[in-house]
C-alpha cells in the first residue's frame, strides 16, 4: 500500500520540478535563448489547459453517467480550432497588434476603451471561473482523499485543509512566476513552459491508465470492446439538440474562457504556431478522450456500487494495487488542476488589476500624473493581490458549496457563462457596426438570463432559488420559470439556459448596435479590429539590430537636425563602448531618445514613432488620439502666431494708410493755405493799387475817384465776407458749433431765405408748392436757412437762362425730407459736379463776390444736421438736393 507520505513526497518533488522548469525557462528567456521556448509544440501543449481536472477525472465520470456525450466537450474546441481558425487567427493578430492583455481588454478596446465593459466582462469572468477553480481544488482534495482511504495507517486530514494547502501552494507558484516581470506583452515563459510539461504529464498519465485498463484489467483490446458493447455507455445515444448545444457551448468557451484567451492569444509568440496547433491540439484532445470510455466501463464493472465515477482514473489502479500507476494518475490529475488554476488566476488577475484595482487606485490617489516607476510597483502589487484573491475566492466557493456532487455540471454552467462574451467578441472583430451600447446590452441581457436560468439554479434545488419558484416561476409568473422560459418545456435545462441567454444576448447586441452610432473612438478601434490584417504588419518581424538603429537615426535626424541627432547617437554609442554611430537600442537609450524627440514633436508622437520603428507595434488609437491632441495644440499655437502676424500686417497697413492720409492732409493744408493766400491777396491787391492811385494821382475826375473808391469798398466787403466764411467753415469743420434747435414751418424758412437773398432774388422767378411746405421742423433753423440762402443766391448768381427760374420741390420719402432746388440754366458740367462742394471750387468764369466756400459750408452744415446735400444731375438746369431725416421733423408734428 502506498503511504500518504510517499504521495506527498512525490507531489512535492513534482512541484519542485515544475518550479525548476519554470525557473529555467525564465532564465533562458532572459538570456534571449527563446528558440525552443517559442516552438509551436510548446504553444500547442499550453493550449491543453483546456483539459482540466474536470476533463482528466470528470470526463470518465461524465461518460459513466451520460455515455458518449462527454465527447462534445472535446469536439467543440477541435471544431473551433479547425473550423473557426479564421476567427482565432484574427483574435491572435488583434491581440498582438493592439497589445491586448485579456478578453476583457479585447472587448473594451474594441468598443472604444470602455471601462464599464471591461469591468463587466471581468466580473463575469470571475463569476464564471471561480466555481471552476473550486472544482480543481475539489478534484485534488478528492483524489488525495481516495489515496488516503487506501492507506489505513494514516488518519485522513480534513479535506478542506488539503484544499487550503493546495490553494496556497498554487497562489505562491502563480505569484512567483506570473508576476515576475511586468512585460507589456504579458507573456510568461516560465509558466507556459511549466504548463507544457504538465500537459505532457497528464497525457502520459491518462494514456498509462488507459493502457493498464485495456490490457491489464480488460484483458486486451477485443475483450474490452466487447465489454463496452455490453455496457449502456457505448450506445450511440445522440440527443441531437443537446449534443449540438454542448459542442457549440464548448467551442464558444474555448474562445471566451479567460485562461484559454490567455494561452491562445496573450501568450502566443508567433501567429504561425496556430497552423501547428490546428491539427496538433485536436489530436491531443483525441488521445485524451480515447481511453475515457474503457476506463468508465471498467470502473462501472469492477468497482463496488456507489464508487465515485469521477475518480475511476485513480481508483481503478488503486483497486488493483498498482500504487505507482495510481501515483502517476494522481500527478496527472494534479497537473490538470494546477495548470488550470495557475493560468486562470493569471488571466483573471490581469483583468482584475487592470480594469478594477488600477482604475480605483488611480482615482483614489488622484492619479494621472504619476511617475512610471511608481505605477509599476503598484501594478505588480495589484497583480499579486488579485492572484491570491482569485485563488482564495475559488477556495471559499469550494468550502461554501461543500464540495457538492457532480462538479461537472458546474463546468458546463461556467462555459455558458463565459460564452456570453461570444457575440460581443465575434461581432467586434467582424462587424464594424457593432457598438459599445450593443455589446453592453447584449452582455447584460445574456448574463441576466444565464444567472436566472443556470447560475442560481446550479447551486442546487432550493439553495438560492426556492423550489416553488423553480416550479411555478417568480410571483407565479409561469413564463419566467428558470428552466422553462416562455413556457417552452422539455428542453434540457443546460441547453435551455444557454440557448435563451445567447439568443437574447445576440439579439439585443445586434439590435442596439443597429439603432445607435458608434463613437469616433469606437469607429477607429472597430476599423483597426475588423481590418486588422490591413493595419498590422505580417508576423515574425526581425529582432532588434543595427538596421533598426539606423532607422531611428534617420528619423531623429529629420526631427532634431543631423548634427544634434548624430551627437546624441554617438554619445550613446560611446557610453555603450561601441565605436560606431549606431548604439544598441537598449530600453534606456530608447527612453532617452523618446524624451529628446518629445521636446520637438510632443511625447505621444515621439512614443508612437519610436514604438513603430522598434517594437513593430501598431500605433493604437489612444496613441493616435494623443498625437492628434498634440498636433492640435501645435496647430493652435501656430495659428496664434499666424493671427499675430496677420495682426501686425494689418497694423502696418493701417499705419501706412494713416501716414498716407496725413501726407495727403498736409498737402491739402498746403493747398488750402495757398488758396487762402490767393483769395486774401487778390482783393487786397485791388485795394492797395486803387488806394495808391487815389493817393498819388492828381487830377482824377470825381466820377473816376468815386469808381475807384467803390472798388476799394467792394473789395473790402469781399474780404470781410471771405474772412466770415473762413471762420464759419473752420468752426463747422472742427465740430465746435452747437446746434440751436428750434421749431418752425418749412414754408416760413424758405420765405425767409428768399427775402434774405434780397436783390439777387429779384431777377429770379421762384416756383414753390406751399402746400407741400406746410411742415413743422425741429432743427437748427438758422443753419438750414443759411443753406437755402446759399442755394438761392447761387441760382440767382449763376443761372444763365434768359429768364431765370428756380423751382423748389418739397417731398417726403420714407422718413426723409427732400428739398430740391432746380433752376433752368445750363447746369454744371459732369466733370465739375464732383468738385463743387470742395473749398474754393469755382465753376466757370469768376464773378466778383464769390470766395468759393459757400457750398463747402452748406455741406458741412447738412452733415451737422444729420442730412446731406448733393448735386442732382439730369434735371435740365443746376439742381441741388437737400435731404434730412424726418424723424426729427415728425417728432415735432
Amino acid at each position: 500500500m502506498a503511504s500518504l507520505n510517499l504521495l506527498l513526497s512525490v507531489s512535492l518533488a513534482y512541484v519542485a520540478l515544475l518550479f525548476l522548469v519554470a525557473f529555467a525557462a525564465e532564465r533562458a528567456a532572459l538570456r534571449g535563448r527563446v528558440g525552443w521556448l517559442r516552438s509551436p509544440l510548446v504553444y500547442t501543449l499550453s493550449l491543453s489547459i483546456y483539459c482540466t481536472a474536470w476533463t482528466f477525472y470528470g470526463a470518465v465520470g461524465y461518460a459513466a453517467r451520460s455515455g458518449l456525450e462527454y465527447l462534445t466537450i472535446y469536439l467543440g474546441p477541435s471544431l473551433a480550432m479547425i473550423g473557426w481558425l479564421w476567427a482565432v487567427r484574427k483574435m491572435v493578430r488583434i491581440g498582438r497588434s493592439q497589445k491586448i492583455t485579456s478578453v476583457a481588454d479585447l472587448i473594451s478596446s474594441r468598443y472604444g476603451k470602455s471601462t464599464r465593459l471591461a469591468v463587466f466582462v471581468t466580473i463575469m469572468a470571475v463569476v464564471g471561473t471561480t466555481p471552476y477553480i473550486a472544482l480543481q481544488l475539489q478534484s485534488v482534495t478528492l483524489s488525495f482523499a481516495a489515496f488516503a482511504a487506501m492507506d489505513p495507517a494514516t488518519t485522513l486530514p480534513g479535506g478542506s485543509s488539503t484544499a487550503l494547502w493546495v490553494a496556497a501552494g498554487l497562489a505562491f507558484f502563480t505569484v512567483l512566476f506570473g508576476t515576475r516581470n511586468l512585460d507589456a506583452n504579458e507573456r510568461h515563459h516560465g509558466v507556459v513552459m511549466a504548463i507544457a510539461v504538465e500537459a505532457v504529464v497528464k497525457l502520459c498519465a491518462l494514456v498509462a491508465v488507459g493502457v493498464f485498463v485495456i490490457w491489464g484489467l480488460g484483458g486486451g483490446l477485443s475483450e474490452t470492446l466487447a465489454r463496452i458493447d455490453a455496457s449502456p455507455i457505448g450506445r450511440w445515444e445522440m440527443v441531437n439538440g443537446r449534443w449540438a448545444g454542448l459542442i457549440f457551448l464548448s467551442a464558444a468557451a474555448f474562445l471566451c474562457l479567460p485562461r484559454m484567451f490567455q494561452v491562445l492569444v496573450v501568450e502566443n509568440e508567433d501567429e504561425r504556431h496556430l497552423q501547428t496547433a490546428t491539427w496538433a491540439f485536436p489530436a491531443y484532445l483525441m488521445v485524451m478522450s480515447l481511453f475515457v470510455v474503457p476506463i468508465a466501463v471498467m470502473g462501472l464493472d469492477l468497482l463496488p456500487e456507489g464508487s465515485n465515477p469521477d475518480l475511476f482514473v485513480l481508483t481503478l489502479p488503486l483497486h488493483d494495487g498498482r500504487t505507482g500507476l495510481a501515483m502517476l494518475s494522481f500527478i496527472g490529475g494534479f497537473s490538470s488542476a494546477t495548470s488550470m488554476v495557475i493560468v486562470a488566476s493569471i488571466a483573471l488577475s490581469t483583468m482584475v488589476s487592470n480594469h478594477i484595482v488600477m482604475p480605483i487606485w488611480l482615482r483614489v490617489t488622484g492619479g494621472g500624473a504619476v511617475v512610471s516607476g511608481d505605477v509599476r510597483h503598484v501594478v505588480m502589487l495589484a497583480r499579486r493581490v488579485s492572484i491570491v484573491g482569485v485563488v482564495l475566492l475559488g477556495y471559499i466557493y469550494y468550502r461554501v458549496s461543500g464540495g457538492g456532487e457532480a462538479l461537472a455540471a458546474i463546468g458546463l454552467i461556467s462555459f455558458s457563462g463565459v460564452a456570453q462574451f461570444l457575440p460581443a467578441l465575434v461581432g467586434g472583430i467582424f462587424w464594424r457596426g457593432a457598438t459599445r451600447n450593443g455589446a453592453m446590452t447584449g452582455l447584460i441581457v445574456g448574463s441576466a438570463i444565464w444567472t436566472w436560468c443556470l447560475f442560481l439554479p446550479g447551486f442546487g434545488d432550493g439553495v438560492v432559488i426556492p423550489v416553488h419558484v423553480l416550479e411555478a416561476g417568480p410571483f407565479g409568473l409561469g413564463w419566467l420559470r428558470p428552466e422553462a422560459l416562455f413556457g417552452i418545456e422539455g428542453i434540457d435545462p443546460l441547453v435551455h439556459g444557454a440557448l435563451w441567454s445567447l439568443f437574447f444576448n445576440t439579439l439585443s447586441f445586434v439590435i442596439v448596435s443597429l439603432m445607435g452610432f458608434p463613437t469616433p473612438v469606437e469607429r477607429l478601434q472597430g476599423a483597426q479590429f475588423v481590418n486588422v490584417y490591413q493595419y498590422s504588419e505580417s508576423p515574425g518581424r526581425g529582432a532588434a539590430g543595427p538596421v533598426q538603429t539606423e532607422d531611428l537615426l534617420m528619423m531623429s535626424q529629420r526631427i532634431l537636425g543631423p548634427a544634434q541627432a548624430q551627437a546624441l547617437f554617438l554619445r550613446e554609442a560611446r557610453a555603450q563602448g561601441l565605436a560606431s554611430y549606431l548604439p544598441d537600442p537598449t530600453p534606456g537609450f530608447l527612453q532617452a531618445l523618446e524624451r529628446e524627440l518629445a521636446g520637438s514633436v510632443g511625447a505621444a508622437t515621439a512614443h508612437a514613432m519610436v514604438g513603430q520603428l522598434t517594437g513593430g507595434a501598431v500605433v493604437s488609437v489612444e496613441d493616435l488620439m494623443a498625437v492628434a491632441d498634440e498636433t492640435a495644440q501645435i496647430m493652435e499655437y501656430s495659428s496664434q502666431l499666424e493671427a499675430k502676424s496677420q495682426e501686425l500686417t494689418r497694423t502696418a497697413r493701417q499705419l501706412r494708410a494713416a501716414n498716407d492720409k496725413l501726407t495727403q492732409l498736409s498737402l491739402q493744408k498746403d493747398a488750402f493755405l495757398s488758396q487762402i493766400s490767393h483769395e486774401l491777396r487778390t482783393p487786397m491787391t485791388s485795394i492797395r493799387a486803387f488806394s495808391e492811385i487815389l493817393r498819388d494821382t492828381d487830377g482824377l475826375g470825381t466820377e473816376q475817384r468815386l469808381k475807384y473808391a467803390s472798388i476799394i469798398h467792394d473789395e473790402a466787403v469781399r474780404l470781410t465776407r471771405l474772412l466770415d466764411d473762413l471762420l464759419d467753415l473752420s468752426v463747422l469743420e472742427n465740430g465746435q458749433i452747437s446746434l440751436n434747435l428750434q421749431e418752425g414751418r418749412l414754408s416760413a424758412l424758405i420765405d425767409h431765405a428768399i427775402s434774405a437773398t434780397g436783390g439777387a432774388a429779384d431777377r429770379l422767378r421762384i416756383r414753390r408748392n406751399r402746400v407741400a411746405e406746410t411742415l413743422l421742423l425741429t432743427t437748427d433753423l438758422d443753419r438750414l436757412g443759411q443753406v437755402f440762402i446759399n442755394l438761392i443766391a447761387n441760382a440767382a448768381k449763376y443761372c444763365d437762362a434768359e429768364r431765370p427760374e428756380l423751382s423748389i420741390h418739397v417731398r417726403q420719402r420714407g422718413g426723409t425730407l427732400i428739398v430740391d432746388f432746380i433752376d433752368n440754366g445750363t447746369g454744371i458740367e459732369t466733370d465739375q459736379q464732383a468738385v463743387i462742394f470742395e473749398k474754393f471750387a469755382r465753376v466757370g468764369e469768376q464773378k466778383a463776390g464769390g470766395a468759393g466756400l459757400g457750398l463747402a459750408i452748406c455741406r458741412e452744415i447738412m452733415q451737422r444736421l444729420g442730412g446731406t446735400i448733393g448735386y442732382l444731375p439730369g434735371q435740365g438746369g443746376a439742381a441741388f438736393r437737400v435731404t434730412m431725416p424726418l424723424a426729427r421733423a415728425m417728432a415735432a408734428q
Binding site: E679, L680, T682, E845
Partner: protein, 122 residues
C-alpha cells in the same frame, strides 16, 4: 516811342488798376483774361512786355510762360509774373519757368512801374 504791354490777368479790378497805372506812364495797355488762348494772344500782338498772372482760368501762368520761352519769337520777351501766392516755392517755379521778374500781390504801384521800365531797358 510807344511801349506795348499785354496784361494777362483775370481779376477785373486788378486789370483796371494796372491799366490805369501803366497808361499814365505812357504804355499802350492791352489785356487778356483767359489762360487758354493767352499764348496766341501774345504771339499775335508781340508786345514789348507781358505781365502774367499765375492763377488764370483755363491754364496756369507757368505753363503759358513755358510755352512762350519754348517758341523762338517769344523766347526773349520780358515777362513780369504776378502771383497772389507769395510762397518761396512759387518764386522758384516762376524762375524755373523763365520769368524775367516775379512780383507778389499786393504790389506797390511804383514798384510795378519801376520793374516794367527796367525790364524793357528804358
Amino acid at each position: 516811342m510807344s511801349k506795348n504791354v499785354l496784361v494777362i490777368e483775370d481779376e477785373p479790378n486788378i486789370i483796371e488798376a494796372i491799366g490805369f497805372i501803366l497808361s499814365r506812364d505812357g504804355w499802350r495797355v492791352a489785356t487778356h483774361s483767359n489762360g487758354e488762348d493767352a499764348v496766341e494772344a501774345v504771339r499775335s500782338r508781340m508786345p514789348d512786355l507781358v505781365i502774367l498772372d499765375v492763377m488764370l482760368p483755363g491754364r496756369s501762368g507757368y505753363d503759358i510762360l513755358r510755352d512762350l520761352r519754348g517758341a523762338e519769337a517769344t523766347a526773349g520777351m520780358p515777362v513780369l509774373m504776378l502771383t497772389a501766392r507769395g510762397q518761396n516755392r512759387d518764386r522758384e517755379m516762376a524762375e524755373a519757368a523763365g520769368a524775367s521778374r516775379f512780383m507778389t500781390k499786393p504790389f506797390s504801384n511804383s514798384e510795378v512801374l519801376a520793374a516794367v521800365n527796367q525790364l524793357i531797358g528804358a
